[in-house]
Symmetry: C2
Subunit: 237 residues, 2 copies
Amino acid sequence: MAKLQGKGNCQTCPIRYRSIFSGIPEADLPDVLQDFRTSVITLTHNENIYIEGDAAAHAYTLRKGLVKLTKSLADGRTQIVRIIGHGELFGFDGLAGEDYNQTALALTDIEICKLPMKDLERIRATSPEVDKAMMQGWIQGLRAAENMLLDLGAKKAPERLASFLLKWCKDNQPGQWIDLPLSRSEIAELLGLTVETVSRFLSDWKRKGLIQDTRSTIQLTDPEGLKQAVCTSARGL
Amino acid sequence: MAKLQGKGNCQTCPIRYRSIFSGIPEADLPDVLQDFRTSVITLTHNENIYIEGDAAAHAYTLRKGLVKLTKSLADGRTQIVRIIGHGELFGFDGLAGEDYNQTALALTDIEICKLPMKDLERIRATSPEVDKAMMQGWIQGLRAAENMLLDLGAKKAPERLASFLLKWCKDNQPGQWIDLPLSRSEIAELLGLTVETVSRFLSDWKRKGLIQDTRSTIQLTDPEGLKQAVCTSARGL
DNA sequence: CGCGACTTTGAGCATATTCAATAAATGTGG
DNA sequence: CCACATTTATTGAATATGCTCAAAGTCGCG
Protein backbone atom coordinates (compact mmCIF):
# COMPACT_ATOMS: atom_id res chain seq x y z
CA MET A 1 0.00 0.00 0.00
CA ALA A 2 0.97 3.61 -0.53
CA LYS A 3 2.57 4.74 2.66
CA LEU A 4 3.53 8.22 3.76
CA GLN A 5 7.06 8.14 5.11
CA GLY A 6 6.91 11.67 6.45
CA LYS A 7 7.86 15.13 5.36
CA GLY A 8 10.84 15.24 3.03
CA ASN A 9 14.09 16.61 4.32
CA CYS A 10 16.01 17.90 1.37
CA GLN A 11 19.20 18.65 3.24
CA THR A 12 19.72 14.99 3.96
CA CYS A 13 18.03 13.56 0.89
CA PRO A 14 20.18 10.75 -0.47
CA ILE A 15 19.38 11.48 -4.09
CA ARG A 16 19.61 15.22 -3.98
CA TYR A 17 22.75 15.11 -6.09
CA ARG A 18 20.91 13.47 -8.95
CA SER A 19 17.77 15.56 -8.74
CA ILE A 20 16.74 18.98 -9.98
CA PHE A 21 18.15 20.35 -6.73
CA SER A 22 21.66 19.13 -7.41
CA GLY A 23 22.91 22.54 -8.48
CA ILE A 24 21.94 24.42 -5.37
CA PRO A 25 24.98 25.37 -3.25
CA GLU A 26 24.88 23.59 0.11
CA ALA A 27 24.75 26.90 1.96
CA ASP A 28 21.66 28.11 0.09
CA LEU A 29 19.62 24.98 0.63
CA PRO A 30 17.70 26.11 3.71
CA ASP A 31 16.81 29.39 2.03
CA VAL A 32 15.75 27.99 -1.30
CA LEU A 33 13.78 25.09 0.06
CA GLN A 34 12.08 26.75 2.99
CA ASP A 35 8.33 26.20 3.03
CA PHE A 36 8.71 23.45 0.47
CA ARG A 37 6.00 21.00 1.52
CA THR A 38 7.34 17.78 0.17
CA SER A 39 6.35 14.35 1.39
CA VAL A 40 8.14 11.09 0.92
CA ILE A 41 5.97 8.14 -0.05
CA THR A 42 6.72 4.48 -0.54
CA LEU A 43 4.75 2.34 -2.97
CA THR A 44 4.98 -1.31 -3.88
CA HIS A 45 5.30 -2.90 -7.29
CA ASN A 46 2.40 -2.05 -9.63
CA GLU A 47 0.89 0.59 -7.41
CA ASN A 48 -0.44 3.67 -9.08
CA ILE A 49 0.93 7.19 -8.65
CA TYR A 50 -1.41 9.12 -10.91
CA ILE A 51 -3.66 8.49 -13.86
CA GLU A 52 -3.85 9.99 -17.35
CA GLY A 53 -6.36 12.82 -17.31
CA ASP A 54 -6.15 13.58 -13.59
CA ALA A 55 -5.56 17.17 -12.58
CA ALA A 56 -1.81 17.56 -12.13
CA ALA A 57 -1.45 19.16 -8.71
CA HIS A 58 1.84 17.45 -7.86
CA ALA A 59 5.06 16.54 -9.56
CA TYR A 60 7.32 13.77 -8.29
CA THR A 61 10.96 12.93 -7.93
CA LEU A 62 11.95 9.29 -7.85
CA ARG A 63 14.17 8.39 -4.90
CA LYS A 64 14.32 4.61 -5.22
CA GLY A 65 13.27 2.05 -7.79
CA LEU A 66 11.76 2.52 -11.25
CA VAL A 67 8.52 4.01 -12.56
CA LYS A 68 6.80 3.50 -15.91
CA LEU A 69 4.70 6.14 -17.64
CA THR A 70 2.02 4.65 -19.87
CA LYS A 71 -0.76 5.73 -22.20
CA SER A 72 -3.72 3.59 -23.22
CA LEU A 73 -6.29 3.33 -25.96
CA ALA A 74 -9.97 2.82 -25.28
CA ASP A 75 -9.75 -0.91 -26.00
CA GLY A 76 -6.97 -1.48 -23.47
CA ARG A 77 -3.92 -1.51 -25.72
CA THR A 78 -1.18 0.14 -23.69
CA GLN A 79 2.10 1.81 -24.54
CA ILE A 80 4.91 2.58 -22.14
CA VAL A 81 6.07 6.05 -23.16
CA ARG A 82 8.91 6.46 -20.72
CA ILE A 83 10.76 4.77 -17.91
CA ILE A 84 11.74 6.98 -15.01
CA GLY A 85 15.00 6.33 -13.19
CA HIS A 86 16.85 7.49 -10.16
CA GLY A 87 16.48 11.21 -9.36
CA GLU A 88 14.28 12.04 -12.33
CA LEU A 89 11.37 14.47 -12.16
CA PHE A 90 8.04 13.36 -13.60
CA GLY A 91 4.40 14.34 -13.62
CA PHE A 92 5.05 18.02 -14.28
CA ASP A 93 2.26 18.60 -16.84
CA GLY A 94 0.72 20.99 -14.32
CA LEU A 95 3.48 23.50 -15.03
CA ALA A 96 1.96 23.97 -18.48
CA GLY A 97 -1.54 24.13 -17.05
CA GLU A 98 -2.40 20.66 -18.34
CA ASP A 99 -3.71 17.44 -16.81
CA TYR A 100 -1.45 14.41 -16.59
CA ASN A 101 -0.82 13.08 -20.06
CA GLN A 102 0.19 9.62 -18.86
CA THR A 103 -0.42 7.13 -16.10
CA ALA A 104 2.44 6.54 -13.65
CA LEU A 105 2.96 3.08 -12.15
CA ALA A 106 5.60 1.63 -9.87
CA LEU A 107 7.72 -0.81 -11.84
CA THR A 108 9.44 -1.95 -8.64
CA ASP A 109 8.93 -1.04 -5.01
CA ILE A 110 9.63 2.67 -5.01
CA GLU A 111 10.15 5.71 -2.90
CA ILE A 112 9.02 9.03 -4.32
CA CYS A 113 9.09 12.62 -3.19
CA LYS A 114 5.80 14.42 -3.82
CA LEU A 115 6.18 18.09 -4.78
CA PRO A 116 3.21 20.48 -4.75
CA MET A 117 3.03 22.30 -8.06
CA LYS A 118 2.78 25.73 -6.44
CA ASP A 119 5.94 25.21 -4.43
CA LEU A 120 7.76 23.84 -7.43
CA GLU A 121 6.79 26.86 -9.51
CA ARG A 122 7.99 29.19 -6.80
CA ILE A 123 11.32 27.43 -6.42
CA ARG A 124 11.86 27.37 -10.14
CA ALA A 125 11.30 31.12 -10.22
CA THR A 126 13.69 31.81 -7.35
CA SER A 127 16.54 29.41 -8.04
CA PRO A 128 18.35 29.61 -11.38
CA GLU A 129 20.04 26.30 -10.56
CA VAL A 130 16.75 24.46 -10.20
CA ASP A 131 15.38 26.19 -13.25
CA LYS A 132 18.33 25.09 -15.34
CA ALA A 133 18.20 21.52 -14.11
CA MET A 134 14.51 21.29 -14.96
CA MET A 135 15.10 22.72 -18.40
CA GLN A 136 17.83 20.23 -19.09
CA GLY A 137 15.57 17.44 -17.88
CA TRP A 138 12.87 18.45 -20.38
CA ILE A 139 15.26 18.76 -23.25
CA GLN A 140 16.80 15.39 -22.44
CA GLY A 141 13.31 13.93 -22.13
CA LEU A 142 12.40 15.28 -25.54
CA ARG A 143 15.57 13.86 -27.05
CA ALA A 144 14.87 10.47 -25.52
CA ALA A 145 11.31 10.55 -26.86
CA GLU A 146 12.58 11.45 -30.34
CA ASN A 147 15.02 8.56 -30.22
CA MET A 148 12.19 6.26 -29.22
CA LEU A 149 10.08 7.55 -32.10
CA LEU A 150 12.86 6.53 -34.47
CA ASP A 151 12.93 3.07 -32.92
CA LEU A 152 9.18 2.57 -33.09
CA GLY A 153 8.72 4.13 -36.50
CA ALA A 154 11.69 2.85 -38.44
CA LYS A 155 13.06 -0.28 -36.79
CA LYS A 156 11.96 -3.90 -37.04
CA ALA A 157 11.24 -6.08 -34.03
CA PRO A 158 14.74 -7.52 -33.46
CA GLU A 159 16.35 -4.13 -33.95
CA ARG A 160 14.06 -2.51 -31.42
CA LEU A 161 14.72 -5.21 -28.88
CA ALA A 162 18.47 -5.11 -29.38
CA SER A 163 18.52 -1.30 -29.15
CA PHE A 164 16.60 -1.54 -25.92
CA LEU A 165 18.97 -4.08 -24.38
CA LEU A 166 22.06 -2.20 -25.48
CA LYS A 167 20.69 1.06 -24.13
CA TRP A 168 19.64 -0.58 -20.87
CA CYS A 169 23.08 -2.09 -20.30
CA LYS A 170 25.16 0.66 -21.83
CA ASP A 171 26.97 1.74 -18.68
CA ASN A 172 28.00 -1.79 -17.76
CA GLN A 173 30.76 -4.14 -18.75
CA PRO A 174 29.83 -6.91 -21.15
CA GLY A 175 29.33 -10.07 -19.15
CA GLN A 176 27.98 -8.33 -16.11
CA TRP A 177 24.61 -9.18 -14.57
CA ILE A 178 22.23 -6.23 -14.71
CA ASP A 179 18.81 -5.78 -13.09
CA LEU A 180 15.99 -5.74 -15.59
CA PRO A 181 12.79 -5.43 -13.58
CA LEU A 182 10.56 -5.45 -16.64
CA SER A 183 8.43 -8.46 -17.45
CA ARG A 184 8.38 -9.74 -21.00
CA SER A 185 5.04 -8.12 -21.53
CA GLU A 186 6.33 -4.79 -20.26
CA ILE A 187 9.25 -4.94 -22.66
CA ALA A 188 6.70 -5.65 -25.37
CA GLU A 189 4.57 -2.69 -24.27
CA LEU A 190 7.58 -0.42 -24.43
CA LEU A 191 8.66 -1.57 -27.89
CA GLY A 192 5.26 -1.85 -29.53
CA LEU A 193 5.52 -5.64 -29.88
CA THR A 194 3.82 -8.70 -28.40
CA VAL A 195 5.10 -10.83 -25.55
CA GLU A 196 5.60 -13.74 -27.90
CA THR A 197 7.78 -11.79 -30.29
CA VAL A 198 9.95 -10.53 -27.45
CA SER A 199 10.28 -14.01 -25.99
CA ARG A 200 11.18 -15.56 -29.33
CA PHE A 201 14.07 -13.23 -30.07
CA LEU A 202 15.43 -13.38 -26.53
CA SER A 203 15.36 -17.18 -26.64
CA ASP A 204 17.04 -17.15 -30.00
CA TRP A 205 19.85 -14.88 -28.80
CA LYS A 206 20.25 -16.96 -25.66
CA ARG A 207 20.70 -20.11 -27.76
CA LYS A 208 23.31 -18.28 -29.82
CA GLY A 209 25.18 -17.26 -26.68
CA LEU A 210 24.73 -13.53 -27.19
CA ILE A 211 22.86 -12.97 -23.94
CA GLN A 212 22.03 -14.75 -20.70
CA ASP A 213 19.14 -14.05 -18.38
CA THR A 214 17.31 -15.01 -15.24
CA ARG A 215 13.83 -13.85 -14.36
CA SER A 216 14.76 -10.27 -13.60
CA THR A 217 18.39 -9.83 -14.58
CA ILE A 218 20.20 -9.93 -17.86
CA GLN A 219 23.75 -10.17 -19.11
CA LEU A 220 25.03 -9.15 -22.51
CA THR A 221 27.63 -11.81 -23.11
CA ASP A 222 28.51 -10.42 -26.50
CA PRO A 223 27.14 -6.92 -27.23
CA GLU A 224 29.05 -6.67 -30.50
CA GLY A 225 27.68 -9.98 -31.64
CA LEU A 226 24.21 -8.76 -30.78
CA LYS A 227 24.56 -5.65 -32.96
CA GLN A 228 25.94 -7.84 -35.72
CA ALA A 229 23.14 -10.37 -35.48
CA VAL A 230 20.51 -7.69 -35.73
CA CYS A 231 22.13 -5.90 -38.63
CA THR A 232 22.53 -8.95 -40.80
CA SER A 233 19.05 -10.19 -40.05
CA ALA A 234 17.76 -6.81 -41.14
CA ARG A 235 19.77 -6.90 -44.38
CA GLY A 236 20.76 -3.29 -43.97
CA LEU A 237 21.75 -0.70 -41.38
CA MET B 1 18.71 29.06 -51.86
CA ALA B 2 19.03 30.13 -48.24
CA LYS B 3 18.75 33.86 -48.22
CA LEU B 4 19.40 36.29 -45.43
CA GLN B 5 16.52 38.73 -45.22
CA GLY B 6 18.25 40.99 -42.73
CA LYS B 7 18.38 41.53 -39.04
CA GLY B 8 15.20 40.58 -37.23
CA ASN B 9 13.07 43.31 -35.78
CA CYS B 10 11.11 41.83 -32.92
CA GLN B 11 8.94 44.88 -32.32
CA THR B 12 7.33 44.51 -35.69
CA CYS B 13 7.61 40.74 -36.05
CA PRO B 14 4.32 39.45 -37.43
CA ILE B 15 4.46 36.23 -35.44
CA ARG B 16 5.66 37.62 -32.17
CA TYR B 17 2.26 36.90 -30.63
CA ARG B 18 2.64 33.21 -31.28
CA SER B 19 6.28 32.91 -30.29
CA ILE B 20 8.14 32.57 -27.01
CA PHE B 21 8.15 36.37 -26.86
CA SER B 22 4.38 36.65 -26.79
CA GLY B 23 4.22 37.27 -23.06
CA ILE B 24 6.51 40.27 -22.98
CA PRO B 25 4.63 43.52 -22.35
CA GLU B 26 4.88 45.83 -25.34
CA ALA B 27 6.63 48.47 -23.26
CA ASP B 28 9.42 46.12 -22.13
CA LEU B 29 10.26 44.83 -25.59
CA PRO B 30 13.12 47.19 -26.37
CA ASP B 31 14.71 46.46 -23.01
CA VAL B 32 14.38 42.71 -23.08
CA LEU B 33 15.43 42.25 -26.65
CA GLN B 34 18.24 44.73 -26.87
CA ASP B 35 21.44 43.21 -28.24
CA PHE B 36 19.48 40.24 -29.48
CA ARG B 37 21.28 39.39 -32.70
CA THR B 38 18.59 37.64 -34.65
CA SER B 39 18.54 37.23 -38.38
CA VAL B 40 15.63 36.41 -40.60
CA ILE B 41 16.29 33.82 -43.28
CA THR B 42 14.17 32.48 -46.11
CA LEU B 43 14.59 28.96 -47.40
CA THR B 44 12.84 27.06 -50.14
CA HIS B 45 11.17 23.68 -50.01
CA ASN B 46 13.53 20.86 -48.98
CA GLU B 47 16.38 23.11 -47.97
CA ASN B 48 18.28 22.16 -44.89
CA ILE B 49 18.42 24.19 -41.68
CA TYR B 50 20.68 21.99 -39.59
CA ILE B 51 21.79 18.37 -39.42
CA GLU B 52 21.65 15.76 -36.68
CA GLY B 53 24.96 15.79 -34.84
CA ASP B 54 25.94 19.37 -35.69
CA ALA B 55 26.96 21.64 -32.84
CA ALA B 56 23.83 23.52 -31.79
CA ALA B 57 24.89 27.15 -31.76
CA HIS B 58 21.51 28.54 -32.82
CA ALA B 59 17.87 27.92 -32.13
CA TYR B 60 15.14 28.95 -34.53
CA THR B 61 11.63 30.31 -34.56
CA LEU B 62 9.45 29.56 -37.53
CA ARG B 63 7.84 32.64 -39.04
CA LYS B 64 6.24 31.20 -42.17
CA GLY B 65 5.65 27.73 -43.55
CA LEU B 66 6.36 24.33 -42.05
CA VAL B 67 9.50 22.50 -40.97
CA LYS B 68 10.06 18.78 -40.40
CA LEU B 69 12.49 17.37 -37.88
CA THR B 70 13.83 13.96 -38.87
CA LYS B 71 16.16 11.27 -37.62
CA SER B 72 17.80 8.61 -39.75
CA LEU B 73 19.37 5.20 -39.44
CA ALA B 74 22.67 4.30 -41.06
CA ASP B 75 20.92 2.54 -43.96
CA GLY B 76 18.83 5.57 -44.85
CA ARG B 77 15.52 4.71 -43.21
CA THR B 78 14.15 8.01 -41.95
CA GLN B 79 11.60 8.99 -39.35
CA ILE B 80 9.93 12.37 -39.02
CA VAL B 81 9.90 13.02 -35.28
CA ARG B 82 8.08 16.30 -35.28
CA ILE B 83 6.47 18.88 -37.51
CA ILE B 84 7.09 22.49 -36.57
CA GLY B 85 4.36 25.03 -37.13
CA HIS B 86 3.83 28.74 -36.96
CA GLY B 87 5.70 30.52 -34.15
CA GLU B 88 7.29 27.39 -32.67
CA LEU B 89 10.82 27.27 -31.33
CA PHE B 90 13.08 24.44 -32.48
CA GLY B 91 16.72 23.41 -32.49
CA PHE B 92 17.29 24.26 -28.83
CA ASP B 93 19.40 21.22 -27.91
CA GLY B 94 22.25 23.62 -27.25
CA LEU B 95 20.51 24.83 -24.11
CA ALA B 96 21.23 21.41 -22.60
CA GLY B 97 24.78 21.45 -23.92
CA GLU B 98 23.99 18.88 -26.60
CA ASP B 99 24.37 18.69 -30.36
CA TYR B 100 21.29 18.73 -32.57
CA ASN B 101 19.40 15.49 -32.10
CA GLN B 102 17.53 15.78 -35.39
CA THR B 103 17.83 17.17 -38.89
CA ALA B 104 15.64 20.16 -39.75
CA LEU B 105 14.28 20.54 -43.29
CA ALA B 106 11.92 23.02 -44.89
CA LEU B 107 8.66 21.28 -45.69
CA THR B 108 7.47 24.32 -47.62
CA ASP B 109 9.11 27.59 -48.49
CA ILE B 110 9.83 29.06 -45.09
CA GLU B 111 10.96 32.08 -43.19
CA ILE B 112 12.84 31.50 -39.97
CA CYS B 113 14.36 33.66 -37.29
CA LYS B 114 17.83 32.52 -36.23
CA LEU B 115 18.59 33.00 -32.53
CA PRO B 116 22.14 32.72 -31.17
CA MET B 117 22.17 30.35 -28.22
CA LYS B 118 24.01 32.79 -25.96
CA ASP B 119 21.46 35.53 -26.51
CA LEU B 120 18.61 33.12 -26.00
CA GLU B 121 20.08 31.94 -22.71
CA ARG B 122 20.49 35.48 -21.54
CA ILE B 123 16.95 36.46 -22.43
CA ARG B 124 15.55 33.39 -20.78
CA ALA B 125 17.40 34.34 -17.60
CA THR B 126 16.18 37.93 -17.65
CA SER B 127 12.57 37.56 -18.77
CA PRO B 128 10.21 35.37 -16.75
CA GLU B 129 7.69 35.62 -19.57
CA VAL B 130 10.08 34.16 -22.14
CA ASP B 131 11.20 31.55 -19.65
CA LYS B 132 7.64 30.44 -19.02
CA ALA B 133 6.77 30.33 -22.70
CA MET B 134 9.79 28.18 -23.42
CA MET B 135 8.96 25.82 -20.57
CA GLN B 136 5.42 25.42 -21.80
CA GLY B 137 6.74 24.75 -25.29
CA TRP B 138 8.94 21.92 -24.00
CA ILE B 139 6.21 20.36 -21.94
CA GLN B 140 3.79 20.55 -24.86
CA GLY B 141 6.48 19.08 -27.10
CA LEU B 142 6.98 16.20 -24.70
CA ARG B 143 3.26 15.58 -24.53
CA ALA B 144 2.99 15.56 -28.31
CA ALA B 145 5.90 13.12 -28.53
CA GLU B 146 4.26 10.84 -25.98
CA ASN B 147 1.05 10.88 -27.96
CA MET B 148 3.00 10.00 -31.07
CA LEU B 149 4.68 7.13 -29.23
CA LEU B 150 1.24 5.75 -28.45
CA ASP B 151 0.30 6.00 -32.11
CA LEU B 152 3.44 4.32 -33.38
CA GLY B 153 3.61 1.67 -30.69
CA ALA B 154 0.00 0.64 -30.28
CA LYS B 155 -1.97 1.56 -33.40
CA LYS B 156 -2.35 -0.22 -36.71
CA ALA B 157 -1.78 1.45 -40.07
CA PRO B 158 -5.30 2.76 -40.73
CA GLU B 159 -5.66 4.00 -37.18
CA ARG B 160 -2.39 5.91 -37.38
CA LEU B 161 -3.34 7.49 -40.67
CA ALA B 162 -6.82 8.45 -39.47
CA SER B 163 -5.43 9.90 -36.22
CA PHE B 164 -3.02 11.94 -38.25
CA LEU B 165 -5.68 13.33 -40.57
CA LEU B 166 -8.06 14.11 -37.73
CA LYS B 167 -5.32 15.85 -35.77
CA TRP B 168 -4.19 17.79 -38.81
CA CYS B 169 -7.69 19.04 -39.56
CA LYS B 170 -8.95 19.33 -36.02
CA ASP B 171 -9.44 23.10 -35.97
CA ASN B 172 -11.40 23.13 -39.18
CA GLN B 173 -14.98 22.50 -40.19
CA PRO B 174 -15.72 19.19 -41.84
CA GLY B 175 -15.93 19.74 -45.57
CA GLN B 176 -13.33 22.48 -45.65
CA TRP B 177 -10.22 22.32 -47.84
CA ILE B 178 -7.05 22.28 -45.77
CA ASP B 179 -3.43 22.60 -46.85
CA LEU B 180 -1.47 19.40 -46.43
CA PRO B 181 2.01 20.09 -47.77
CA LEU B 182 3.26 16.59 -47.02
CA SER B 183 3.91 14.15 -49.82
CA ARG B 184 2.63 10.60 -49.45
CA SER B 185 6.10 9.45 -48.59
CA GLU B 186 6.44 12.11 -45.92
CA ILE B 187 3.18 11.03 -44.34
CA ALA B 188 4.57 7.49 -44.42
CA GLU B 189 7.81 8.63 -42.80
CA LEU B 190 5.89 10.33 -40.05
CA LEU B 191 3.67 7.33 -39.33
CA GLY B 192 6.23 4.56 -39.69
CA LEU B 193 4.56 3.12 -42.79
CA THR B 194 5.33 2.79 -46.48
CA VAL B 195 4.11 5.08 -49.25
CA GLU B 196 2.03 2.27 -50.69
CA THR B 197 0.18 1.61 -47.46
CA VAL B 198 -0.63 5.29 -47.05
CA SER B 199 -1.81 5.57 -50.62
CA ARG B 200 -4.00 2.47 -50.36
CA PHE B 201 -5.95 3.65 -47.33
CA LEU B 202 -6.36 7.18 -48.64
CA SER B 203 -7.67 5.84 -51.95
CA ASP B 204 -10.00 3.51 -50.11
CA TRP B 205 -11.43 6.31 -47.97
CA LYS B 206 -11.75 8.53 -51.01
CA ARG B 207 -13.80 5.86 -52.77
CA LYS B 208 -15.99 5.57 -49.69
CA GLY B 209 -16.56 9.33 -49.70
CA LEU B 210 -14.94 9.92 -46.32
CA ILE B 211 -12.28 12.27 -47.62
CA GLN B 212 -11.38 14.22 -50.74
CA ASP B 213 -7.98 15.42 -51.81
CA THR B 214 -5.90 17.18 -54.37
CA ARG B 215 -2.15 17.04 -54.49
CA SER B 216 -1.52 19.25 -51.49
CA THR B 217 -4.86 19.83 -49.86
CA ILE B 218 -7.32 17.58 -48.15
CA GLN B 219 -10.91 17.71 -46.99
CA LEU B 220 -12.52 15.54 -44.35
CA THR B 221 -15.95 15.11 -45.84
CA ASP B 222 -17.07 12.90 -42.96
CA PRO B 223 -14.76 12.90 -39.92
CA GLU B 224 -17.18 10.81 -37.86
CA GLY B 225 -17.42 8.23 -40.60
CA LEU B 226 -13.65 8.12 -40.73
CA LYS B 227 -13.37 7.34 -37.02
CA GLN B 228 -16.06 4.73 -37.42
CA ALA B 229 -14.40 3.09 -40.40
CA VAL B 230 -11.12 2.80 -38.58
CA CYS B 231 -12.64 1.42 -35.40
CA THR B 232 -14.62 -1.32 -37.08
CA SER B 233 -11.76 -2.30 -39.31
CA ALA B 234 -9.63 -2.65 -36.21
CA ARG B 235 -12.25 -4.78 -34.46
CA GLY B 236 -11.72 -2.88 -31.21
CA LEU B 237 -11.16 0.60 -29.80
C1' DC C 1 3.20 -29.84 -3.04
C1' DG C 2 0.10 -27.36 -5.82
C1' DC C 3 -1.72 -23.14 -7.49
C1' DG C 4 -1.29 -19.03 -10.29
C1' DA C 5 1.35 -15.98 -12.97
C1' DC C 6 4.67 -15.55 -16.32
C1' DT C 7 7.29 -17.50 -20.18
C1' DT C 8 8.32 -20.32 -24.02
C1' DT C 9 7.24 -22.66 -28.22
C1' DG C 10 4.42 -23.98 -32.19
C1' DA C 11 1.20 -23.46 -36.14
C1' DG C 12 -1.68 -20.71 -38.90
C1' DC C 13 -3.00 -16.25 -40.26
C1' DA C 14 -3.28 -11.22 -41.25
C1' DT C 15 -1.31 -7.06 -41.91
C1' DA C 16 1.81 -4.37 -44.07
C1' DT C 17 5.95 -4.68 -46.96
C1' DT C 18 8.41 -5.48 -51.21
C1' DC C 19 8.71 -5.56 -55.93
C1' DA C 20 6.82 -4.24 -60.23
C1' DA C 21 4.12 -1.87 -63.50
C1' DT C 22 1.05 1.85 -64.72
C1' DA C 23 -0.86 6.38 -64.21
C1' DA C 24 -0.93 11.08 -62.98
C1' DA C 25 1.20 15.40 -62.02
C1' DT C 26 4.93 18.63 -62.23
C1' DG C 27 8.64 20.94 -64.20
C1' DT C 28 11.80 22.07 -68.23
C1' DG C 29 13.39 23.47 -72.51
C1' DG C 30 12.45 24.30 -77.06
C1' DC D 1 2.49 26.69 -74.89
C1' DC D 2 3.31 22.13 -75.87
C1' DA D 3 6.18 17.83 -75.73
C1' DC D 4 9.08 15.33 -73.07
C1' DA D 5 11.42 13.94 -68.85
C1' DT D 6 11.14 13.30 -64.06
C1' DT D 7 9.08 12.85 -59.96
C1' DT D 8 5.15 11.38 -57.32
C1' DA D 9 1.08 8.56 -56.70
C1' DT D 10 -1.77 4.49 -57.48
C1' DT D 11 -2.70 -0.30 -58.03
C1' DG D 12 -1.67 -5.28 -58.13
C1' DA D 13 0.52 -9.67 -56.78
C1' DA D 14 3.58 -12.17 -53.94
C1' DT D 15 6.07 -12.37 -49.71
C1' DA D 16 7.42 -11.89 -44.98
C1' DT D 17 7.13 -10.11 -40.62
C1' DG D 18 4.94 -10.13 -36.53
C1' DC D 19 0.36 -11.29 -34.51
C1' DT D 20 -3.25 -14.47 -32.74
C1' DC D 21 -4.57 -18.48 -30.71
C1' DA D 22 -3.35 -22.57 -28.28
C1' DA D 23 -0.69 -25.56 -25.42
C1' DA D 24 3.04 -26.82 -22.62
C1' DG D 25 6.67 -25.54 -19.58
C1' DT D 26 8.86 -22.84 -15.66
C1' DC D 27 9.16 -20.23 -11.68
C1' DG D 28 7.82 -18.37 -7.21
C1' DC D 29 5.06 -18.51 -3.26
C1' DG D 30 1.85 -19.96 0.09
